[in-house]
Subunit: 343 residues, 2 copies
């Protein structure tokens, strides 16, 4: 089995280059969403604790099985820890043996950002001017900009966060990307200055980040931070007025903005929207909401990208005899109690 801790994943991404990783991730996601029906899909398994949520996200096609473990603990930041950390595993369906296990903290941010870029390709308003807006500039923010840059004619980025130091950090990171930056003093200013608005806030509460009065006709909203029960970013009234794009409806109805609108009937799964973009907008003025919660197929794609990158850069992984290596598969006991050199 190939094992990569966070530092090794970083080394692999730096070796290949983040732009290349983003491009390959977008292409892999596009490919996997185009063959949606081959996947074994289920809503993720979640355990809720007063401090956060712990989730398992399994997925499989007929060749490979993957799962990701991911937590969401909004108060981790205060203690100097990440709100969201993750790792995943890729196994061969034919024998169930793990092939690859790696930290997926960065990969989760990367694949989430690449999904926004894929949605922006097909669901941005007609005649848009490449103006991106971010409400929230925490750990996920720069990845959105970097992914959008790969496939979308990004002209400028408006942004706002209630934490001034998070805005400063964002500005410092983005300055190196040579993008026109518009720091804003409110969410309203972000909405007014953008064609595509992305919300990415961490607080576990029912929030109301956007007043419908702030939006232009046809605007695309990507709500990334409403991703578990009792955690939403948008008002019910706004969600009701939008055409809603979702990754996998059974999970989004439990975890996304849609948890507030069980009767919403304008819901389209992304695999449908990607294969027929005409489904997305009944009119140019329709508000489109990408109600992103993060789905297991995206982590499957991410692990397949890492597996492919490792073919050219195997030195980035540690190779382990993870499973007991026994002479006789029926002699599991003997392999444990004897001092055999093969284990």
């Amino acid at each position: 089995m190939q094992l990569l801790d966070a530092a090794q994943v970083k080394q692999l991404i730096q070796t290949v280059g983040l732009p290349t990783v983003l491009t390959q991730m977008i292409e892999r996601l596009r490919y996997d969403f185009s063959r949606w029906d081959v996947f074994d899909k289920s809503p993720r398994h979640a355990v809720y604790h007063p401090q956060g949520v712990l989730e398992l996200m399994p997925c499989a096609d007929d060749q490979m099985y993957t799962f990701k473990y991911v937590n969401g603990h909004p108060k981790n930041t205060e203690a100097g820890r990440l709100c969201v950390a993750a790792f995943g595993m890729l196994a061969d369906q034919r024998n169930g043996y793990p092939l690859l296990m790696c930290d997926m903290t960065w990969l989760t941010a990367i694949r989430t950002a690449c999904m926004v870029a894929l949605v922006a390709e097909v669901a941005s308003p007609a005649h848009h001017q490449g103006r991106l807006g971010l409400i929230g500039t925490g750990a996920q923010a720069e990845f959105i900009v970097a992914a959008m840059q790969r496939v979308w004619p990004l002209s400028c980025c408006a942004y706002f966060d209630i934490d001034a130091s998070a805005m400063e950090k964002f500005s410092k990171n983005i300055n190196q990307m040579k993008i026109d930056l518009h720091p804003c003093d409110s969410a309203q200013a972000v909405c007014e200055a953008s064609d595509v608005v992305v919300t990415l806030t961490a607080a576990k509460q029912h929030n109301r980040l956007i007043d419908p009065a702030w939006l232009h006709p046809g605007q695309l909203i990507c709500a990334l931070g409403g991703d578990c029960p009792e955690k939403t970013e948008l008002d019910v009234d706004l969600v009701q007025q939008c055409r809603v794009l979702v990754e996998y409806a059974p999970q989004t109805r439990l975890e996304g903005e849609l948890q507030q609108c069980p009767d919403h009937d304008q819901v389209i799964e992304l695999h449908q929207a990607f294969s027929d973009p005409s489904l997305i907008r009944p009119s140019e003025d329709t508000w489109v909401l990408f109600d992103s919660v993060g789905f297991a197929v995206e982590d499957f794609s991410a692990l397949r990208v890492i597996e492919a990158l490792l073919k050219a850069h195997p030195e980035c992984a540690t190779v382990l005899e993870w499973v007991p290596n026994v002479m006789d598969p029926k002699d599991l006991y003997g392999a444990l109690v004897q001092d055999t050199p093969d284990v």
Copy 2:
């Protein structure tokens, strides 16, 4: 995070000694089943493939979260691989960060065997003579004997397998334990020569290993190999005549012998049986069936035992910076693209 591959788990178990590990596992299982209501429980998540099954088994109390990944691929043996391999993770509920990850292939065999020993303590027939019978002597078999020896007055062991070399392997391993061995030429002979019969076969089919005519009044049957849909070891007629002990009814009704008897109304969960053994037998002659499928609480117990053993033997684990170690938790991007020495 502490990481243990199979060889390190072996080193830890050999350092402590398997008998001590078995005793601690039995005590931990007894403790965890006595506080059943504190656990977040759910049937495991399974993906079925023509070659086998891939499962995730999450569990949590208010302090700790665990999951195990385990496969079941009966045809692996032919290719020199294990039918069942597993690994698990222990995380802190307060922040979701992994504390321990380890191979659980041996631990799965150990905790499964310890559950049989715990059941035998309370559910063996009255006036039994300590006679154990095994139908199937594959990878799990010796662990049953070793665990029973810790808590049950084991006098002799009858055994049968359709694979003569598996019987030889079993005999060779058990000879070192100084137990009276009775090799048998049929499942019938095993049943007739034992007070507690354990079935542990790997074939994925509806089997009929035991004819009720072979059983004594009051016999205890532990069916370990019927543990996923379409895989059972006992005939419906026999199951219907038994009082059935289960780990967690919602999972056993999907995966165990009970999948064949949806209307069975003589089902008792083990936590009830452990706290009130009088529930087990309406009469001395009742056949009792432990319909074992393996439940996530058992893996929680196993991981807590390993965590405790590592306190005295930390040298058996590798310590990894598994999650990105960032200066500013909101600057996940900066930590990836910059050559910071802290990651």
